[in-house]
């Protein structure tokens, strides 16, 4: 950059941009330590009560008679978290298997419908989630299937399979097919070649795809909202409901814990990626 004033201006703009992205997160974290139970926008004093109450560690905040400090979400939140984790685990497994199989098929075999498949697999990612959500809702209701954790898992897999497919396909493109040909020439069956030659090379891509699927599944709101029925709800739907009903101070503590978890997962993802390039 030849112009130092221009560069300084650009730097100021960019730093303001990152402040814009991160300031809201710090606002939540700040408020989560505010002890004011009536109006959480007015700072009273520093407290960890919302956290201890949420995690079921404190008597004071689980005392129903003390309305002001009572944390009502603990049980519901933990149930929602459990549902989210169950859904994410199953979704990740299913979509990773299907997505990987598809990526291998499209990269290693030449057949007439290959182009059609390649284009078609983009659609679930591009389709607005509300359209997919209501489509699945009508479908499940029409065939008489009860809305449950199973319908949530199916809903997530419909679009996450495509995400895994994209990631694994990208890894696939960087591999040398000669290794597999050598394996076949040396008498290995397709299955042995797949297991001993192809899958080990694909592992970082598969892991990356699985991680992405897990993270998106944990965060999905819209599709879950439509196909979850009245029983099981996931964490994002639970928080959405809390926001709609009117927020209670403990939501800041929940939100902070979620932000913390996402930082850990993002760091893990970055670490995995840096290992992959080594």
């Amino acid at each position: 950059m030849r112009n130092p004033i221009g560069w300084a201006g650009l730097t100021a703009f960019s730093l303001a941009f990152f402040a814009f992205i991160y300031a809201p997160l710090f606002v939540i974290i700040g408020y989560s330590f505010n002890s004011n139970p009536v109006n959480m926008m007015i700072w009273e004093s520093f407290t960890l009560d919302w956290y201890t109450g949420l995690l079921g560690l404190s008597d004071r905040t689980t005392d129903v008679s003390n309305r002001a400090a009572y944390v009502e979400s603990t049980g519901l939140m933990l149930a929602a978290l459990r549902t989210s984790l169950t859904v994410a685990l199953f979704t990740t497994t299913i979509s990773t298997v299907i997505g990987t199989a598809t990526a291998i098929a499209l990269a290693r075999y030449r057949f007439r419908l290959r182009g059609v498949y390649n284009g078609f697999l983009m659609l679930p990612m591009m389709m607005p989630d509300i359209v997919l959500g209501i489509g699945l809702l009508i479908f499940f209701v029409s065939i008489g299937m009860n809305l449950s954790i199973l319908t949530i898992i199916i809903g997530h897999c419909t679009f996450l399979t495509s995400y895994v497919f994209i990631i694994v396909q990208a890894r696939m493109a960087g591999l040398d097919p000669a290794l597999e040909e050598a394996s076949a020439d040396l008498g290995a069956s397709e299955w042995v070649t797949l297991r001993k030659v192809l899958l080990p090379q694909l592992a970082p891509g598969i892991l990356g795809g699985a991680l992405l699927a897990f993270v998106i599944s944990m965060d999905d709101l819209v599709i879950t909202y439509f196909v979850s029925g009245t029983g099981d709800t996931t964490l994002p739907v639970f928080i959405f409901g809390m926001i709609r009903r009117g927020v209670k101070p403990e939501i800041n503590a929940i939100a902070t814990l979620i932000i913390l978890a996402s930082v850990v997962i993002a760091a893990l993802g970055l670490w995995l990626r840096s290992r992959k390039t080594d």
Partner: protein
């Protein structure tokens, strides 16, 4: 396919995705299309008779007896399109300079800021929107700051307005615009920029004639990725928008979860789908054309 065992392997690999997406993706979309031309039942559900007034209500050929044409539906559709377009423009204005800045940093700082821009991908959408609720409230942080600084005398009413909706969408979509832009800016051929400047073009000319055409694919990619989820968005207007910030996604949600008029909701969804497919088709043909010239 010469080898029979190979075609068996191919079949095994492709069967799961074909079955799964056939049943749980194509079929539901087909059902939406079907429901959009069926008669709404009296107490929710449908009657199996052809009915075109669902679209008539939206586009103006309603029968005027049971189904009444309300221009509000078209207005909400246009509003959704303009909010989405505005989101694209604003994220582009925000991200372009920053992408440029990040690409000029040293290796270490570039990694740091790339990490910072991808981090929101991993953090919860609903939590990030909730933060804006705290900031924009009449008693929220923004108003507290403005009042304290004496910039305003009465709290600004930002929450539950179109401004809040667009702001929220820009905030949520920023990373999706940034990443394609960054890869375009990072791949800029710098020698061309220097050549342009050396040959006497000024900065503006260089930007318009050299930088902009080279980064256009990134701009188009980002625009599509931001526009599509914005136009059908219902979470952001639900949390931050009031009646004036209502978008077509909210209409769809109402038809399914409160009005229980599924055929009408399906017709509205078909419109969202049509918009999305049109945008995709245009971008694909454009990209193909551009690829053909190169």
């Amino acid at each position: 396919m010469a080898n029979r065992r190979q075609s068996v392997a191919l079949g095994i690999l492709l069967a799961p995705v074909t079955l799964f997406l056939g049943v749980f993706f194509l079929l539901p979309l087909g059902i939406i299309a079907l429901f959009s031309v069926l008669t709404p039942g009296l107490y929710g559900g449908v009657e199996w008779a052809f009915y075109h007034w669902n679209y008539g209500r939206i586009f103006g050929w309603a029968d005027g007896i049971i189904e009444i044409y309300e221009p509000i539906y078209l207005q909400i559709l246009l509003r959704s399109l303009s909010f989405a377009a505005l989101t694209v423009i604003l994220t582009l204005i925000l991200c372009y300079p920053v992408a440029f800045w990040v690409s000029r940093l040293s290796e270490r700082w570039r990694l740091v800021f790339m990490f910072l821009i991808t981090l929101p991908f991993f953090s919860s959408l609903i939590v990030r929107l909730y933060a804006w609720l705290l900031i924009l409230k009449p008693s929220g942080l923004l108003n507290a700051a403005l009042l304290a600084l004496g910039i305003v005398d009465v709290p600004l009413e930002i929450l539950y307005t179109p401004t809040a909706v667009v702001l929220g969408m820009v905030y949520v979509m920023v990373p999706f615009m940034f990443l394609p832009l960054y890869s375009a800016v990072d791949n800029l051929d710098r020698s061309q920029i220097e050549a342009s400047l050396d040959l006497g073009a000024n900065r503006v000319q260089t930007f318009v004639k050299v930088v902009l055409p080279q980064t256009l694919p990134g701009i188009m990619g980002g625009a599509v990725i931001v526009f599509i989820p914005s136009v059908g968005n219902f979470v952001v207007p639900d949390v931050l928008g009031g009646a004036k910030g209502l978008m077509i996604g909210n209409l769809v949600e109402q038809q399914f979860l409160s009005s229980r008029n599924w055929p009408f909701g399906s017709a509205l969804s078909m419109i969202i789908m049509a918009v999305v497919l049109t945008v995709l088709l245009i971008s694909v043909t454009r990209a193909r054309k551009a690829g053909g010239h190169a």
